[in-house]
């Protein structure tokens, strides 16, 4: 009778069994007295670690976004720098523009005016820069089509037709930026791993302390025929729940703190970019169950190791 609804009596029996099991589980947990200090320590540690984990996660995501943004912003542009004697500069500029106009993959090219050059230099030299007194190369901004430009071919053509022109496709700028962002992301992920490790260590220590405090209780339970799995369950259940609750509180605080961060703005860089966007707000919700899983495993290993020493 597959797919048929279970008989009412069957459902009743299943319900009874479940209720009996719940009572037994509750009693199993109660046989171990609550250990006040280690309980609070576990709760606070889990909350603090989850709070830090939210920020590490946000940093990893921000680094990811930053790398993408730099990649996208720099990958589609290039610059031709023309450094030629004063008498040849206009001629070579015209040649460069002509070469670019006939180069496949170039969407547009334009000469960067003196005002724009002054604006680019202003952060380093300040305002009112005497542009006339400086010998600056002529700059041509190249916007690439989605397929990109054959940089090597363009360089050879420019070298042949306008010897003072040098193509800069931003590779030397782009690579360290992308590498830096990737390294930052790796560091953030390593931090998450470390946070997990420290959580496991703290929970293990707290569980060992609780097991040591309850050595007499464990001895009595062994004497009345309790199996190690039963005794361990009482500790594992308690520490897993504490970690889950602590981590949930830490995540909630972390998310509120991220929400209160200033909104990210274009060009504002990494600092205001640390935050969560859209579906990313769901990612931290995975932290409490993962922390509980870590606590479950750590307490279980600690409990069985200690119990092996009791006859």
């Amino acid at each position: 009778m597959s797919g048929a609804a279970p008989e009412p009596r069957e459902t009743q029996k299943t319900g009874d069994r479940r209720a009996a099991r719940t009572v037994r589980d509750r009693r199993a947990t109660q046989v171990v007295p609550g250990s006040g200090q280690s309980a609070w320590l576990t709760l606070l540690t889990a909350a603090a670690m989850a709070f830090l984990c939210v920020f590490a996660l946000a940093l990893a995501l921000a680094a990811d976004r930053l790398a993408d943004r730099w990649q996208a912003a720099l990958a589609q542009t290039a610059t031709v720098r023309i450094a030629a004697p004063a008498g040849q500069i206009e001629e070579q500029t015209a040649i460069v523009l002509e070469v670019l106009a006939t180069t496949p993959g170039v969407q547009s090219a334009r000469v960067i005016g003196e005002d724009e050059q002054a604006a680019l230099l202003e952060p380093w030299f300040g305002p009112d820069l005497p542009m006339d007194a400086l010998t600056l190369p002529r700059l041509v901004e190249v916007i690439e089509a989605p397929g990109g430009v054959d940089s090597m071919g363009l360089r050879l053509r420019l070298a042949a037709e306008a010897p003072g022109a040098i193509l800069d496709d931003h590779t030397r700028w782009r690579r360290p930026l992308i590498e830096g962002a990737a390294r930052l992301r790796l560091l953030a992920l390593a931090s998450i791993g470390l946070i997990g490790g420290v959580t496991a260590a703290m929970v293990t220590l707290a569980a060992m302390a609780a097991l040591a405090t309850n050595a007499r209780v464990i001895a009595v339970l062994r004497l009345v025929g309790a199996r190690d799995s039963f005794i361990a369950r009482a500790f594992v259940r308690r520490f897993t729940l504490r970690t889950l609750i602590g981590a949930a509180a830490g995540v909630a605080l972390g998310m509120v703190a991220l929400w209160a961060m200033p909104a990210a703005q274009d060009g504002a860089g990494l600092l205001t970019g640390i935050g969560l966007r859209g579906i990313e707000w769901l990612y931290p919700l995975a932290i409490p169950p993962v922390a509980a899983l870590v606590a479950w495993a750590a307490t279980r290993v600690a409990a069985f190791r200690v119990l092996r020493e009791v006859t």
């Binding site: 009693r27 046989v31 209780v217 009595v220 339970l221 025929g225 309790a226 039963f230 119990l307």
Partner: protein, 223 residues
């Protein structure tokens, strides 16, 4: 059910007893006597596997203690009721939960009606919700005995179970043990109380063993 075969035990190089053999079959009733420090408590601990003998073999329900894993030992203990001299309660749990502890620990359902009856039988109905540290010595012993018989064990081991009880209560508890024994439970009681032994022998066939001079022997017929 429990067999000791040529068992010897020592503490810190001093031999307590040697070549001790004992067979507790279904429905058997043994008393264990002897001077203080002769090794009565140690013998009981060997019987429920808390201690390993220095030599010889202890078999619990047909299985050698030496070959038993931790779960095997736990399973064997679920079939043995033990009354410890120092009672050994969980002080944070009320008497009711302590008495039901062997059932809770083996994850069996607790028959609340039977539990109430048993608490009434040992005279602890009024103390059912009290914590063990608030009980008197006699009340603790009665609670310990109730815990030992709660699972209707196949073997019952009791270390001075009536040491702190008045005579009427001792006889009352003895009658409970005799009743269990008649239903097939093997009973071993370590005691100094010769009157208790005589009272029991007047009702059932019990063997009295005595540990003295590092040996265990059958006590005289005068008991």
């Amino acid at each position: 059910m429990i067999e000791l075969d040529g068992v010897a035990h020592s503490y810190g190089g001093t031999e307590l007893f040697s070549d001790v053999s004992l067979s507790m079959g279904q429905g058997s009733f043994h008393f264990l006597t002897g001077p203080s420090g002769a090794g009565k408590t140690t013998l009981l601990k060997l019987c429920y596997g808390e201690l390993q003998p220095r030599s010889g073999d202890v078999r619990l329900f047909g299985e050698s203690r030496r070959k038993m894993g931790r779960n095997d030992l736990a399973r064997a203990r679920q079939r043995i009721g033990v009354v410890h001299q120092d009672c050994q309660f969980l002080d944070h749990l009320p008497v009711r939960e302590n008495v039901a502890l062997p059932l809770i620990a083996s994850q069996r359902p607790v028959p609340e009606g039977d539990l109430d009856d048993l608490l009434g039988w040992v005279g602890l109905s009024a103390q059912a919700d009290a914590l063990p540290p608030t009980l008197s010595g006699g009340e603790r012993q009665r609670a310990a005995l109730a815990r030992a018989v709660m699972t209707s064990p196949e073997v019952l081991l009791a270390d001075e179970p009536t040491g702190n009880l008045d005579w009427d209560m001792s006889v009352r508890l003895l009658s409970l043990l005799i009743e269990l024994n008649r239903m097939g439970t093997a009973v071993l009681i370590a005691t100094h109380d010769l009157n208790l032994i005589r009272t029991a022998k007047s009702q059932i066939s019990a063997r009295v063993l005595r540990i003295a001079g590092r040996r265990m022997q059958l006590a005289g017929a005068d008991l």
